[in-house]
Structure formats: structure tokens, C-alpha cells
Assembly symmetry: C2
Homo-oligomer: 132 residues x 2
């Protein structure tokens, strides 16, 4: 999605930027954000793709949510995480940087997510509402 499509104001305070960068300065959180760029996901799928313990994924998602880098909604037992509907310009710019990032782990994550998606599309092994 080109940056111009984001309607949020370009101008923010310095502390807004600090909060953004606090969210971005961890490898696991960058992996989560990279995955969410392909669409909303529930925690269990993020956990499966990252192959990290549930508590670790949950805490990092909470950290991102506190700082407005992701949003979440509950759907039954599941909590769906997504990128904000109208991200700030700075967030959008850094998500674009993340898309350009050539990193073996991010690449592997993307592949694992794609496999997960096709697997769920065929045989619904998961009750997650994203894959009805």
C-alpha cells in the first residue's frame, strides 16, 4: 500500500516518535509486524509461524498494542491482531522499510505463514474465525 493512502497527519510529537521506536526496537516485534502486513492474524497463528512460546508472543503483542502499533479485537476465544486502520505516517514509513528488509528469518516467517494459510484454506483444522 503506497504511503499516500494513509490519511493520518504527518506531524506528531517527539514523544509519539519515541513510543513508536520503542515498539520497533525488538526483533520479535518486527517479525510480528511483518506478518501482520499480510492481514489480521490471531495470536495462535502468529505463535505458530514464529515458533515462539505463547507468553512471549502475547507480551510483545501487548507491548505493540500499548504503543498503538497494532490493534486487537476479540472474536470468541480468539483475539485478532491487525495493523491500525489509519497508521501514522511514521509507522507507515517504517512498515515500508520492513517490507524492503531482506532477512532470512522474516523470509522464513512469510513462507511459513503462506503455508499455514493454504493449509487452513484446504482442511479447516483451526476454529479461528479468520478462516471460516
Amino acid at each position: 500500500m503506497p504511503l499516500a493512502e494513509y490519511a493520518s497527519p504527518r506531524t506528531v510529537s517527539a514523544m509519539d516518535l519515541v513510543r513508536l521506536y520503542e515498539g520497533l526496537c525488538d526483533r520479535t516485534r518486527l517479525r510480528l509486524l511483518a506478518l501482520l502486513q499480510s492481514g489480521p492474524l490471531c495470536v495462535c497463528h502468529l505463535q505458530e509461524v514464529l515458533d515462539e512460546p505463547q507468553v512471549k508472543v502475547s507480551k510483545h503483542l501487548g507491548y505493540l498494542r500499548e504503543r498503538g502499533l497494532v490493534e486487537s479485537t476479540r472474536e470468541g476465544n480468539w483475539i485478532i491482531y491487525r495493523l491500525p486502520a489509519t497508521p501514522t505516517f511514521a509507522l507507515a514509513a517504517n512498515l515500508a522499510c520492513l517490507r524492503d528488509c531482506t532477512d532470512p528469518t522474516l523470509h522464513r516467517d512469510a513462507q511459513r505463514l503462506q503455508k499455514l494459510r493454504t493449509r487452513l484454506a484446504k482442511a479447516k483444522h483451526c476454529a479461528c474465525p479468520l478462516h471460516d
Copy 2:
């Protein structure tokens, strides 16, 4: 300066990005980077504009230098800090965000720097080689 003028590769590793964001996620460091966008500066001038203790300024500059967000050269007694000659795309993008940032402190800093520059241009109260 438009982003397109930066020749550095767009692609970096995830850890490169983490190191960048570690440098960016502090208010004092954002103030330093904002000031350096108007050109190289020695520590004493940065310290004067920020009105912060010398050790604090020096440590944050060291932190930025370790992560490649600034470069430094010694000139006699003075050490001149500047933004990298060829910043990464991600750094350039975030410096642009910083320029768009409307923040009272950043604004005050910019004004203080301008006053300092004109003062030094008139009567050379400072031996700093940047103002010969």
C-alpha cells in the same frame, strides 16, 4: 533533502533495523539528530542548545555513533558530529519524519541553534573550528 538522493541500499537485515530503532527511541537522541540535520556540530554547541549536562550529551552521541546514526571526527580539542554521509534508506526516512515532527522542544532547539549560529557569525566567542 529528498529520499531519492540517498544512494544506500534499501535492503537491510532485521537486526540493522533494530539497531536503528534503539538509537531512535530516546527523546534526547531525537533532539540531537534533529539539530544535526542542519549541519555538523561540535559537542559543546549541542550541549549548549539542548541545555543538558555534558556527560548526558556525550553518552547519547556515543550511543548514536555505535549504531551508525551519526559519525564523528576530531578537530583539535573538538569532536565534530554529523549525520552519516550516506545514511541507510531507513535512517533517511526517519530523519524526514523527524523534520515533520511538530514538537515544542524541537522547535525551541532549532531556534536556539539559529541564535547561536548568528551570534558566532558576528563575534567569534567560540574557538570551535566550525565557526572560523
